[in-house]
Amino acid sequence: MKVILLILVIYLLFISTGYGQDKVYYNQTEVGALFGKGQELWNGEHDSRLGFSLITFHGAKISKYHVVGFSLGFDQYESISIIPFALGWRGFLGKENRPQLIGGLDFGGGSAILEKKENTEWYESWYEGGLMYSPSIGVKLPAKKGKTSLTLTIAYKSQKAGYFQGFFDQGLTPRPLTNSNLPPGYNSITETFYQFHSLVARIGLAF
């Protein structure tokens, strides 16, 4: 997946050099916060969720108002840390070198590679990432001098993830059962699937 992204970016950078003098590379790096609402609790209330979010988007201008590229980041959902990676698009509305509206869409996945896997004699547990997409809207406020702009972005982000905990069969002679949805060697497995819906508020720089 990452290799494909890389090839695509290199390809885009390559073809877009054909546009001549314009600056081709576009970078938008932002930090912010993820806001979410937890599942309904037994008393009908919801916990709120707040986490740190970082995203860095690298793209190539394919026309005056459109940039395509990829994004990479870091998101904290309660106890789960996710590295999101996605193909992305940024579109601009408004005159150049004036405040512009930015629309964005990132579509990809999240990896739970930062989460520790546990493997003991008794059980193993691990996290898995999953599908991520995030439409966003923001403003780009260019500096008076230089090429750098300040960006303010609000995004919706959907992220799937899973947590798995499998206990090993401790029997004298463990055997799988036919037609069993339990992996061989396991006595039990708990699978927890998360779909996080977050509102993301970010601030950053673009150049």
């Binding site: 599942q39 919801h46 055997r175 949805n181 039990s188 699937f193 779909q195």
Partner: protein, 417 residues
Amino acid sequence: MKTFGIRLVTLVLVISGIFLSCQDEISTTYTYRTMMPIYLEMSDVRARMISVSPPQPLDNPGKIYIYGDYLLINEPQEGIHILDNSNPANPINKSFIPIQGNVDMAINDNKLYADSYVDLLVFDISAINNIKLINRVKDVFTHLYSHDTGVVVTLKDSVVTVDSESWLTDRGFFLANSSASFASNFSEASKSYGQGGSMARFTLMSDHLYAVDQTSLKVFDVKNPSEPSFLKNINLGWGIETIFPFQEKLFIGSNRGMHIYDAKNPSAPTKMSVYEHVLACDPVVVNEEHAFVTLRSGNFCFNGVNELQIIDIKNPYSPKLKKAYPMLNPHGLGLAGDYLYLAEGTHGLKSFKVNDVMTIDQNQLEFLQSMKSVDLIPGPKSLIVIGPEGVCQFDYSVPNKLKKLSCIDVKNPVVVK
């Protein structure tokens, strides 16, 4: 600029609006292996005709019994497979005796004894192509009865998946986990391997049939092979797993130690001693002077020890630990004369010369690391090894050079970690 601001505010509101209607979705499924109780009327079970059926593939083989040129392989709770093993390099599946609730068997003078829930059945197998049920001794394994009502409770190994709200997950988690309940003892008992192998539960000696269940030893008189009569029940305490007869003594392995019973008077065995050790699951094999016991970690009887223990039993009233050798993860073991074969689980299969028990570690003959195994039976024609490849046979006429002859495919072989 003004319109720009209005656009921005509108969009922010729309996105926030969409978002606010959403909440995180968390779902949990818990899939576990457990023993589901099944209630059966014994009268229904008894009413069913037992007729020998065509061969069936081995699914989940239990005890293996060698009978002349034949191998009898139990399918726990289902019945007994009969295989022609006159050529160990090419065993042929001949037929299947369907016996509900069967987990064990023994053969005496062409009579096959097999349990069927609470009953002991006797088959005439003198003509292997014409096996007949000739007797049924009723209500002997009564521990299976629920409240003496004629209803048998049997437990079926099952996999269950439940969905739960995330905040419910922690409840019932360990309660439902079969490895933490007594039920798992039953499942292990029903799946114990081979007589001849060291994990047997039925055994024959001096015209008596001995059967151990989890807590007791049952004695049957089989002087008249077709008319076994139930003599007595001897309480042994919890966690009984295996029985091994040797020279008018019974060596009974439990998960707390080894019981030695004197069976000079075969109808009334008396306790000689109990060799106790820390909690462990331990098959036993015995020769004149020594008992060989394996202790291993990694199962329900966890004690963190992986050892082959040699116990001096010259004085059966006072068995003494003579020497212990560290092993990797020893399971079943088998003794053939001066040679000991030991299943090391995922690590393979080891063979030792054991005429001098003090130097067993220096007399390791072979260590076949590719042959993962959990139990073995030194038979007259071949060494039968049970492992993830199924039921395999080795030529062991040259004890230090095992030669694989064949493997019988098994649909659900053991998983060896």
